[in-house]
Symmetry: C2
Subunit: 478 residues, 2 copies
C-alpha cells in the first residue's frame, strides 16, 4: 500500500464511532451524523459514544472510545469544543487512526478561549499517529461507501472529487452537481486543517482510481510550494479545478472569520495558476459548469467559436460574452457562407458568425445543414448553441412544440461527428414559473444526453474557454 | 410645443398605415404588425396598404399611402427592401411625417445591392421632412397608446424607457422587465438609424413626463459629442443606463453584420462613461436589474455593505462577490457585535460581517433583532440579503415552511425603517424544476413588494454597486 492509500480506511471504513450522539439530542449534532449514516445505508458498524446515554437510535452507546469492542476505522467527534482534547487523547489510547472533528469554536472564533483549545488539539495531533480531518468541518461524503457526513443522498457513482475547506460548499455542491448529472467519487470538507492537509488529500486523490477530475476550494494554504508542485503534477493527468476564496479584501476578511486561514494575496495566486495550469474557478456553479465540460467534451484544437443563437442584437451580445471569456468568434469562410446562402435568405439573417438564422430555426433539415456547414468550416474549433427559453413555455401547446424542437437539437448534439465540441446555453427571457421549470428540465435533458448545458451564455462560454485553455496549457508545457 | 415634443405623434398616433400588409401573407411581415395592433387594442385608425389586396383583416386596403383618406400619423413599412424607396417617396407626396421602416436588406448585409438601396433611402430621407425610425428595426412599443410593434402585451404603465438599436432586445426586454414588475413608458428599436438618431429620441425622452429612467443599447454612435453632452445633462435628473454592444473584437465584428454600425473602441467608451456618469450595463438582465434598484431604492450614503447569508464558505463567496463588484464588506463595530453575541452563540456562527447566523435563521424575532442591529451599525450603508432556494422546495410540506419564512423576510424588507437600502438575492442550490419555479415565484413576491430581488448574488451586488456609484458621481459632479 502506498503511503497515500493509507487513507482508504478513512473513506471506506468498516466501522464508525460517533462521539456526541445522544439519546436526548439538544439540536443538531452527533445524533444527526448517526441518523444520516443509518438513513443512507452505511453498511459498516456504527458505535454511538456518550457517557450520558446507554442507547442511541437503537444502538448500544459506549461511554468513551476505548470501551468500544473494536478499534473503529473512523471516529466522528461532534461535541462542544471544550471536550475535544480529551476525546482525542482517548482516540490515541484506543489506537484509533482516523478522526473527523466536526466541532467548531477554535481559532476561527478569534476569541482567546478558542485559540487556546486550538493549540491544545494541535499539540495532541502532532504527537500522535492520528489522521485528523478538521476541526470545524463537515467531514467526508463518499458515494460508494455511503459514508455521508451530510444529508445529500448519493445518486450515482461519479469521477469528480471535491476537496473543500468549507463544509457548506461540500454539502451544496453534492446537491447542485447531482441535479446536473455530475456525480462524485468523494467530497472532503477539511475546515481548519489542523491534522490532514490539502496535500495529504491531493496525494490520495492522485492515485485514486475512482477520481478523474479534482476540484478544490481553498481559503488558505500551508506548504504552498508542496501543494503547487503537486497540483502541477496531478493536473497533467487529472484536471485540477481550483477555487480560491478570499481573493478580494472583503473576502479575505471573511476568511479570517471562517477557517481562521490567512488568505494569500492575489498575485501569489496568479502565479499559482500560471505555474500549475490548474483551472481557475470562482463559485460552486463554476466548479460544476467546468467539470461538465471535462466530463463530456473531447479536447478541441483551439478557441475559435461558432455561435448559434438568433437575433441581431443578441448575436452581438453572444459574441461580446465569448470575447470577454477568452474565446474568439471569427467569421466563417466565404465558401461556407455561400453554401449557407443557398438556402438561408439574406434579409434579417446573418450567416457570417454568429449564425443568426431564424428563418430556418424551425426547419430541422435546414438547421442541421447550416450547423453542419458551420462546424465543418476551417475557421471553427468549437461551438456554443444558445437556446432561448421563451415566455410561452408555460402554455401546454407551446411546451409540446418547444420540446419537439429541443429534441431535434439534443439529437443533433448527441450525433455530432464533426470532432468539434458543442456546448449549450439555455437562457431565460423572463422570470416566470413555467419557463423556469422548463429550463431546469431542458438542462437535465441535455446533460443526461452527455451534452454540457448551462443556464447562461456566460457560464457556457466560461466553462468552454477554461476547458480549451487547460488543453492549450498541457500541450505547451508537457 | 418644444421641438422634441414633435415626436408625440410618432408615439401616440391617431392613425397608423401598414404598408405591406396582405390578404395572403407569405410569412411574417406587414400583416403581423396589423394583427398585433388589432390584438393589443390600438384605438386609432388602421390602414393596410398593398396594391394587390382590397381588404386585410377586415379592413379596407389601399393601393398606396397617397390614396388613404387622411394623412396617417405613423406609417409602418414592411415590404422587401427594393420597394422601400418608392414608398418613402409616396410618404413625402402624401405629407406623411412619421415612418417606421421594418424592412431589412440594406447596408447591414454587406452586399453591394443593399449598400446602394441604403444610399437611395438616405438621400430621400435627407431631402424631406420625414422622421424615420430604422430601417432594419422593430420600431415602437408604447404601453399607454398600445402602439405595439411586437407581440408583448403591455401589462402596466411604467417609467422606464428603453432605446435600442436592436429590435430583438426591445422585444425580449418588454417580456423580461414586465415579468419582474418593471414596466415601460416606451421601447424604441431604431436599427440602422438612417433617419432619427439616438439624440432625437434622447431629447424627446428628456422632457417626457412618463419617463423617469432611460436605458440605451447602442452599437455605434453618430455625433458622439452631442450624445455625450446630452446624456451627461439628462443623467442628472433621469438616470441613464447605457449598454454598448460590440466592445470586444468579436462583438465589434458581429455589430457590423447586424446594424452596419462602426463599433467604437473600448477606451472611447470608457471616457464616455467617465464624462457622463451614465450607468454602465452589459446585458438585458443587467438593464432590468439596475432599473429595479433605481425604481425602488432611496439613495445610499456609501457602499459599505452588510451581508446576510449563511454558511462559512458561502460568506467568503458573498464577500468576494461584493468586493469584485465594487462594494465593501467591513466588519461591524465591536459594540454591535457584543449586542448580537448576547443571543447568537459563537460556535458555528459569525457576527462580524457577513452575518453567518444560521442558529437564528428560523427564529423571526432573533432574525429581526440581528438584522436591525446590523443595519443600524455606523459601519454600514446598504445591505444584501441572500436567500438560498433549497432543493427540498418541491416537497409540499417544505414549500409551506419556506413560504412562511420568506414571508417574514419580505415583511422585514418592506418595513425597513433604517433608511439603508436592502436588496435580495435568491440563489439556487440545484437544477430542479420545483425549486426553479419556486425561485421565480419568490422573486415576484419580493419585487411586487417593492424590494429589488435578483436571481444571483452577483446580479444583486452589481446592481447595488452601480446604484451607489451613480449617486456618488452625481454628488461629486453636480
Amino acid at each position: 500500500m502506498s503511503s497515500a492509500r493509507v487513507l482508504d480506511s478513512l473513506f471506506f471504513p468498516k466501522s464508525v464511532a460517533v462521539v456526541g450522539a445522544s439519546a436526548n439530542p439538544a439540536g443538531w449534532g452527533g445524533t444527526s451524523f448517526l441518523q444520516r449514516l443509518i438513513k443512507r445505508g452505511f453498511s459498516g458498524k456504527l458505535y454511538p459514544v456518550n457517557p450520558k446515554s446507554t442507547e442511541v437510535e437503537g444502538l448500544k452507546c459506549y461511554p468513551n472510545v476505548q470501551s468500544i469492542p473494536e478499534i473503529p476505522d473512523h471516529v466522528i467527534i461532534s461535541t462542544p469544543a471544550i471536550a475535544v482534547p480529551q476525546i482525542l487523547r482517548d482516540c490515541v489510547t484506543a489506537n484509533v487512526k482516523n478522526v473527523h472533528i466536526f466541532s467548531s469554536g477554535f481559532s476561527e472564533t478569534g476569541e482567546e478561549d478558542g485559540k487556546k483549545l486550538d493549540e491544545e488539539i494541535t499539540a495532541i495531533i502532532k504527537n500522535s499517529d492520528l489522521r485528523v480531518v478538521g476541526p470545524n468541518c463537515m467531514g467526508i461524503w463518499v458515494s460508494a461507501s455511503k459514508l455521508c457526513a451530510w444529508g445529500a443522498e448519493p445518486k450515482g457513482l461519479g469521477s469528480v472529487a471535491f476537496l473543500s475547506q468549507s463544509g457548506g460548499h461540500g454539502e451544496y455542491i453534492s446537491e447542485l452537481g447531482q441535479s446536473l448529472g455530475v456525480y462524485f467519487s468523494k467530497i472532503i470538507s477539511f475546515g481548519n486543517a489542523k491534522g490532514l492537509q490539502a496535500y495529504d488529500f491531493l496525494e490520495y486523490l492522485e492515485t485514486d482510481p475512482d477520481t478523474k477530475i479534482i476540484a478544490c476550494y481553498f481559503e488558505g494554504m500551508r506548504d504552498g510550494n508542496r501543494v503547487t508542485q503537486l497540483i502541477r503534477r496531478i493536473n497533467r493527468t487529472k484536471p485540477v479545478l481550483v477555487w480560491k476564496g478570499g481573493l478580494t479584501a472583503s473576502g479575505a476578511q471573511a476568511v479570517s472569520s471562517h477557517t481562521g486561514s490567512l488568505a494569500g494575496e492575489e498575485r501569489i495566486w496568479k502565479a499559482f495558476y500560471a505555474q500549475t495550469g490548474a483551472v481557475p474557478v470562482g463559485s460552486l456553479d463554476e466548479v460544476i459548469d467546468t467539470a461538465m465540460a471535462f466530463l463530456y467534451l473531447r479536447p478541441a484544437a483551439g478557441k475559435r467559436t461558432l455561435l448559434m443563437g438568433g437575433g441581431g442584437g443578441n448575436s452581438v451580445a453572444l459574441a461580446d460574452i465569448c470575447g470577454r471569456e477568452g474565446l474568439e468568434v471569427p467569421w466563417i469562410t466565404d465558401a461556407t457562407r455561400q453554401e449557407m446562402n443557398k438556402f438561408i435568405r439574406l434579409a434579417g439573417n446573418s450567416t457570417r458568425n454568429p449564425l443568426d438564422i431564424w428563418s430556418v430555426q424551425d426547419n430541422p433539415d435546414d438547421f442541421k445543414k447550416a450547423f453542419d456547414l458551420g462546424l465543418a468550416d476551417p475557421n471553427i474549433d468549437v461551438a456554443v448553441m444558445e437556446k432561448q427559453i421563451m415566455w410561452d413555455s408555460d402554455e401546454p401547446e407551446h411546451i409540446e412544440r418547444h420540446k419537439k424542437a429541443d429534441g431535434v437539437h439534443i439529437e443533433y448534439c448527441k450525433n455530432n461527428t464533426s470532432g468539434k465540441p458543442i456546448v449549450v446555453a439555455a437562457t431565460s427571457m423572463a422570470n416566470m414559473e413555467g419557463p423556469s421549470a422548463y429550463r431546469a428540465q431542458l438542462l437535465t435533458r441535455f446533460v443526461t444526453s452527455g451534452i454540457p448545458a448551462y443556464s447562461s451564455t456566460v457560464s457556457a462560454a466560461r466553462a468552454l474557454s477554461r476547458f480549451v485553455a487547460y488543453h492549450e496549457f498541457q500541450s505547451k508545457n508537457n
